[in-house]
């Protein structure tokens, strides 16, 4: 199975690990990521204002490219996923946006939200299957107590994202179980870490990170995983006191599949 792949800006730079291990693990799991040629940055935030069109175009270009190849579109970064999935939803359901975007783009055939947008985790769950994944694990992360940090972008708004139960998600916990570790469920795992304000309002970000980390620690988590480079940055950079190890889920995936040098 070949998927169109939208890596996004950060995965080409600060979050190379997220990207590298996603690709490597895909090979090991029997699917292929074909990077969309000349993809443009999704913009990082979904343009909420209903009159914003230009800021949606990069996503539509990627989506239309995937459609032309007849492939599903995969993302790894939570923010890219959020933006592209929601733009796709607009293209499928919002008449005004459909018309204006297509008028602007002038594609041979109008794009009307036909492409299926999947997060890498959804591919693991729905296409590969966590049971199958568990069978391919050669280096189970036995004994590691891992808290899943979902954050906000993957889950909400659930009506559009359709990713998991927004208030009691299980996909990352199931993933953690599949790679042989022990998931730690804690209350703040779907609360925002304050990533967006970490540039200008450090105090605000710090107090939010603190809430997340202490909730996770209280439940016995020893490390966290995330799919979002911004969460990764914020959780590690803006923690007061003793921090926690935070990894991208793809790193641990690669580790469990035995394709990453285990760093001590």
């Amino acid at each position: 199975m070949i998927y169109s792949y939208f890596p996004g800006c950060t995965l080409k730079n600060k979050a190379k690990d997220l990207d590298l291990y996603a690709r490597e693990s895909a090979k090991a799991l029997g699917f292929e990521l074909e990077e969309i040629p000349e993809w443009q940055c999704c913009g990082g935030v979904y343009p909420l204002a209903s009159d914003e069109i230009a800021t949606k175009l990069p996503s539509v270009r990627a989506l239309a490219d995937a459609k032309s190849k007849g492939q599903d579109l995969i993302t790894v970064c939570s923010a890219c996923h959020h933006v592209i999935k929601r733009v796709n939803d607009d293209m499928a359901n919002v008449n005004d946006i459909q018309t204006r975007v297509n008028n602007y783009m002038g594609l041979d055939e109008p794009y009307l939200g036909e492409t299926t947008v999947l997060h890498y985790l959804e591919v693991l769950r729905d296409r590969v299957g966590f049971d199958e994944l568990a069978k391919k694990v050669t280096n189970p992360l036995t004994g590691r107590k891992i808290g899943a940090y979902y954050g906000c972008l993957l889950l909400r708004p659930s009506a559009t994202m359709q990713f998991d139960d927004p208030e009691n998600p299980t996909i990352l916990e199931d993933f953690i179980r599949a790679i042989g570790a022990e998931p730690v469920v804690y209350a703040m795992r779907n609360e925002c870490c304050g990533g967006y304000v970490s540039l200008k309002a450090k105090d605000q970000a710090e107090s939010m990170v603190d809430r997340v980390l202490s909730s996770a620690k209280a439940k016995g988590a020893e490390e966290l995983i995330t799919a979002c480079p911004l969460c990764m940055y914020n959780l590690t950079k803006n923690c007061k006191g003793e921090g926690m190890k935070v990894s991208y889920f793809t790193e641990l995936l690669a580790e469990a599949l035995g394709i990453k040098e285990v760093q001590s």
């Binding site: 139960d165 927004p166 208030e167 009691n168 209350a187 202490s214 209280a218």
Partner: protein
């Protein structure tokens, strides 16, 4: 020559605001055959009907078209009016310019155009209407009540007291319903059991009432006055006649791992069980999904221990068929599932409970003997948070759009009772609005605030999660103080929305009773016929029709009973004269119609027919109008057009088609 009168109703502003009623009347007056047209504020009113009567007399009308609300609403009203003023009731046609026009269109021009076309179609049809005479059919003098809660019991008692036989079909092992699960009832704080149990006993003892517990309605056939109902008596595995209700079997049953439905899963029950101590009948059932013997053939403890020899593992479901003149639906409600409201942590935290679960905890016969504890650890709570409107008034697809009506009052009740028992409790109620319309209701709620110091906070809860110390962390807003609250609590009680019981849709479709988008059964008229379904012979009692508290339910149960009594008191019912009719001159005798008739209403025999001037003895169809219900299947099966449906004849429908398309 036909002389048609057209009457256009304003329905206040319901129609007139969107449809130019004057223009409709003026335009239709120009239609051939129409000799009179007028509009009026409320055609269904006495004055409106009189207008029709006057026109019938003055203009010698031979047919009437009323442009108004749905014929499902007032067709009968206008037919009766026509009859009263001297013309056959079946010479009336309704053009539905409200539900199917003014209410769905905004543009006045467009709506008026459509109303005219609908009116024109009705005129075209009524020109071809023939006077019809209704026949009669007998009434079976027995009623069926589906559901044995307080609504069903009250309805059954009232009907039985009037001297008619009543059967109650209840799908659980005992009658009693939701009310039997409650502790005390607002606003008088009577104990629910104290007022319900005598009624249950009375229903059981009443010579006119037959109880079918652990039974379900399987199939419904027939029509008002003459329903045929198959009732599935599920295998109880306990002989009702032999069992003495001693309870030994339940005590000795080794398999006690099934969540107790009656206690909302707060504890477990045995595989052989009665749902509660006062169950009627006091005969247990064996849960075949739990019983070790029925699953594996090993055990048999209950059979060994039963001195009466009442246990019968070989029992089978039994179908019995009974006839009824009327059917009352009293299927009640349940609380909604909270799977889509995980922010409240109901599925992840044992100390988050529904209000019905709290009823069981507070009930002296409940799983904790009436001692309210934290289900997670059995400890006494110190702080309790009530969350109102969980799943009610929710227009997302997560919940119900309606107000569940009973929550504000029972929350006040529960808060006060808790304070009575445990004065040290700290109780907070998060509300959007407190709704207390009802006699002594607001006074009741205010007592909770003013005498019991229950803390009512105008605001909602955003999230309930486990605090680091194991208590619950409630994050909420206080809109009056404009602050966000993060409060620890030991118990969170969710005032969960109520919805009609599961399976009511199946029952409604068996009965062909209308049901709304929320699965509440629809009444024939929201104001004027609130306890009748639009389907003749079907009546509604209790929450199956809409959220209600106990006094309202009992009142409606009595009202439904009085409607049933009115029906059963008649010896004959007037039947629908819109039946099929065979024009034997054109009948080929081919039997196609006979094959598709669901009622066996068509028969064939050799008859003398005068056909094109010659006498001929030939095989032709005859319709038994007492059996025919007027579906029209035969009319399409007939290749020669000999079979036609009175009131919906080929010519009438073709005329409507022509009028609409022209």
């Amino acid at each position: 020559m036909q002389r048609i009168g057209v009457f256009v109703c304003h329905c206040g502003t319901n129609i007139a605001a969107t449809v130019d009623v004057k223009r409709v009347a003026e335009t239709l007056l120009k239609e051939p055959g129409v000799v009179h047209a007028e509009d009026y504020q409320y055609m269904c009113s006495e004055a409106g009907q009189k207008l029709i009567g006057d026109a019938i007399k003055e203009k010698q009308l031979t047919g009437i078209v009323v442009c108004s609300c749905s014929p499902r609403m007032h067709e009968n009203t206008f037919r009766k009016a026509a009859e009263r003023y001297g013309i056959n009731p079946y010479l009336v046609e309704i053009a539905n310019i409200r539900e199917q026009c003014s209410w769905i269109h905004k543009d006045k021009e467009e709506a008026t155009e459509k109303a005219i076309i609908l009116g024109r179609a009705a005129v075209a049809k009524v020109m071809l209407n023939a006077p019809l005479q209704a026949g009669t059919s007998p009434v079976t003098k027995r009623a069926l009540v589906i559901g044995g809660g307080i609504a069903g019991i009250q309805t059954a008692l009232d009907i039985a007291d009037a001297g008619f036989e009543v059967d109650i079909v209840e799908r659980t092992p005992s009658i009693g319903g939701r009310m039997s699960q409650l502790d005390k009832t607002f606003p008088t704080l009577d104990c629910a059991a104290c007022i319900l149990t005598p009624k249950m006993v009375e229903a059981n003892a009443h010579e006119k009432i037959t109880l079918f517990t652990w039974s379900e309605v399987e199939k419904v056939g027939g029509f008002v006055g003459d329903f045929k109902v198959d009732i599935r008596k599920k295998a109880r595995y306990v002989d009702m006649d032999k069992c003495t209700g001693c309870g030994e079997c339940q005590a000795k049953c080794p398999n006690k791992k099934t969540p107790n439905e009656f206690n909302r899963g707060l504890n477990n029950r045995s595989a052989i069980y009665t749902p509660f101590a006062q169950a009627i009948p006091n005969v247990p059932v064996i849960d075949k999904n739990a019983c070790t013997y029925l699953k594996t053939g090993k055990c048999g403890v209950c059979a060994k221990i039963c001195k009466a020899g009442a246990i019968n593992y070989e029992a089978q479901d039994e179908i019995i068929t009974r006839e009824y003149g009327a059917i009352v639906v009293a299927t009640g409600f349940d609380t909604i599932k909270l799977d889509k409201f995980n922010e409240y942590g109901y599925n992840t935290n044992k100390d988050v409970i529904t209000s019905l679960e709290l009823e069981r905890l507070m009930n002296a016969a409940g799983p904790t003997g009436g001692h309210v504890v934290r289900p997670s650890n059995g400890e006494d709570p110190k702080t309790i948070v009530f969350v109102q409107c969980v799943g009610s008034r929710d227009t997302t697809c997560r919940g119900k759009t309606y107000c569940s009506k009973i929550c504000c009052m029972y929350t006040a009740k529960q808060a006060m009772l808790l304070k009575d028992h445990y004065p040290w409790l700290d109780i907070h109620v998060f509300y959007i609005d407190v709704r207390t319309p009802g006699k002594n209701f607001d006074e009741f709620y205010r007592r909770a605030v003013e005498e019991y110091d229950v803390d009512y906070i105008k605001g909602q809860v955003g999230k309930v999660s486990e605090a680091e110390n194991g208590r619950l962390l409630v994050q909420a807003s206080d809109l009056l103080d404009n602050r966000q609250i993060k409060m620890e609590a030991d118990l969170v009680v969710l005032a969960t929305a109520i919805e009609p019981n599961e399976g009511v849709r199946r029952i409604a479709s068996m009965l062909t009773a209308s049901i709304d988008t929320n699965d509440f059964l629809t009444e024939a008229h929201a104001k004027l016929r609130p306890v009748e379904s639009p389907t003749a012979g079907i009546f509604l009692s209790g929450v199956c029709q809409g959220p209600k508290d106990i006094p309202e339910t009992v009142a409606q149960a009595g009202a439904a009973a009085s409607k049933v009594i009115g029906l059963l008191s008649k010896d004959h019912l007037v039947t629908n004269p819109c039946t099929a009719k065979c024009n034997q001159v054109y009948c080929n005798g081919c039997s196609n119609c006979e094959k598709v008739c669901p009622y066996g209403a068509i028969s064939y025999d050799e008859q003398m027919v005068i056909r094109f001037g010659a006498r001929e003895t030939t095989r032709v169809a005859t319709v038994n109008t007492a059996l025919c219900q007027g579906c029209g299947a035969c009319t399409v099966a007939c290749p020669s057009g000999a079979m036609d449906l009175q009131g919906f004849s080929n010519r009438q429908i073709l005329a409507e088609v022509d009028a609409i398309c022209r």
